[in-house]
């Protein structure tokens, strides 16, 4: 069974079609990437899949449940880390973990064990007593991903998880995600505008532009099919223009810059 199924999905904001009739499936245990510039529709797609945004047309199922009709069932089976830094800065790392264990319904008797497992999985031991607002960007991302694992999600949604991180922090986050996928079988759906990152880490991906999927497949196959040296070249060949990171809705760009600023 597919972990995620999307059929003819549409999201409109007034006259703007943020997501314009896209379809794709993600297999169980797969690392799947939604790749594209700002404003391509990646975050809107992820918001529909996490039940945060109603779709205007089409359908989507996550872990076998319809996101529109069975929102609670979906939310009980997913983990979600938004692009902005979502850990509560006024709480310590330990308190953030305890909070998310409680709101995701981890039984009281299992909380200590689950938190210890997340701490080990994301290497959080050294930061547990520190207020989250004092942590570095890489630490915060690992804390957020760790807290998203507490309910043992079937599908983990990550929106631009490495934006603003330095290369070593970025590598560590990915290392932990791959270990998670390999050992717990968690399906990971990730959005990114970094072509090189998508190529290196995603087994399959969909390249999005202006709300549509313009190419999809595994990275090597995509390059071969379009006779391109990199995914950036694939993007250029299928859209007829270079990837411009600063295009897209001003709110998306502002949000991304704000995250980058917070990460120093």
């Amino acid at each position: 069974m597919s972990a995620v199924t999307v059929e003819d999905l549409e999201v409109r904001f007034g006259e703007v079609r943020a997501v314009d009739g896209i379809s794709f499936t993600v297999g169980d245990g797969e690392v799947y990437g939604l790749l594209g510039p700002n404003g391509a529709g990646k975050t809107s797609t992820l918001r529909v899949l996490t039940t945060l945004l109603p779709a205007d047309a089409g359908a989507a199922r996550v872990a076998g449940f319809d996101v529109a009709r069975d929102g609670l069932q979906v939310r009980a089976r997913i983990g979600y880390v938004p692009q902005a830094l979502s850990a509560d800065g006024a709480l310590t790392a330990q308190e953030n973990l305890e909070f998310y264990a409680r709101v995701t319904g981890v039984p009281r008797g299992q909380r200590r064990e689950r938190i210890a497992q997340a701490v080990e999985a994301m290497d959080l031991g050294a930061m547990l007593g520190r207020l989250a607002r004092t942590l570095s960007g890489g630490m915060l991302r690992r804390l957020e991903i760790g807290s998203a694992l507490l309910n043992r999600p079937r599908v983990l949604f990550l929106d631009e998880p490495t934006v603003g991180l330095d290369p070593s922090a970025r590598a560590l986050v990915w290392e932990r995600l791959h270990a998670l996928r390999a050992d717990a079988g968690t399906t990971i759906v990730v959005t990114t505008h970094l072509m090189e990152e998508a190529e290196r880490h995603c087994e399959r991906l969909a390249i999005m532009d202006r709300g549509r999927i313009v190419a999809s497949g595994d990275p090597a196959d995509l390059r071969a099919r379009h006779d391109a040296a990199s995914l950036e070249n694939v993007f250029m060949k299928v859209t007829g223009r270079p990837l411009d990171e600063d295009q897209g809705r001003i709110r998306d760009v502002r949000s991304q810059r704000r995250v980058a600023r917070r990460l120093g």
Binding site: V31, R47, T50, T51, L52, L53, L72, Q73, R75, A76, R77, I78, Y80, V81, P82, Q83, A84, S86, A87, D88, G89, A90, L91, T92, E95, F99, R102, V103, T104, G105, P107, A116, Q117, A118, E120, A121, E144, L149, N151, R152, P153, R154, F157, W174, E175, R176, H178, A179, L180, R181, A182, D183, A184, G185, T186, R200, H201, C202, E203, R258
Partner: protein, 285 residues
Amino acid sequence: MSAHSVASRAGSAEAVGPPPARPDALTGSPLSRFFAGTAAMAQAELRKLRHDHLDIFTRSAQPLLWLFVFGTALQHNHALTAGTLDYRAYLAPGVMAQAALFIAIFFGLAVIWERDVGQLQRLLATPIPRSAIVVGKAAGAGVRALAQATLLLIVLAITQIDVRWRPIEIVGALAMLVLGTASFACLSMLIAAGVRTRERFMGIGQLVMMPLFFASSALYPLSIMPGWLHVVARVNPLTYEVQGLRQMMLGVGGGGELWLDWLVVVGFFVAMAAAATRAYPRAIL
């Protein structure tokens, strides 16, 4: 470095384990999930207060100024209290409710901040009931008001301002204050759901708070108000909260019955919590 090679280098996620067949979050009844979620939200707010306990002391300066500057200036004006009380005692429940109103009305700022930093989106993607998020957050505002009111009561005791120190009635007054604060915190979240920026919210917050405060019985009795203001004060829930506090702390109401004060405060809370629960998810759109 391929995905496969990095996966083989890190193995510490092994302990996380596969997803359970039935998710943890769906094991209890909806009511037990509501209470568990509310308790989790309230505990987080309490922990934030513990990390920033100086906040309560700094916020307490304002009600103390009202009490000891404004109250002292009008201490001998017996028209305001029908000649029965020291005006500072009459004012004490009013400034207690006013200080709590300040906490509550600007609670919506936190919602806007949480939306901007992604906390709200993250929370709404968890299985916690929306109503538990709203009520838990409102309870957090109530607890802050409770801490502030406790400090104010200590000052009232030290300065021997004439409060009726009956334990049950003091507990009742604090309960009403918590409920009233939670109601206004829900109103604040309701406003925040429709406002995009913190700056705009500040303006709207002032616009809501000042009429609530001045068109109530917080500073003066309803009996001295002109007709139109009397009508406005009669439909203002803060009036009933202050009258209830005054009845329980001083034995002096405002012409109304204590049961009516409770009914209005509880009814206002239920209505605001329901409306905020409905509007809250829209804050992220």
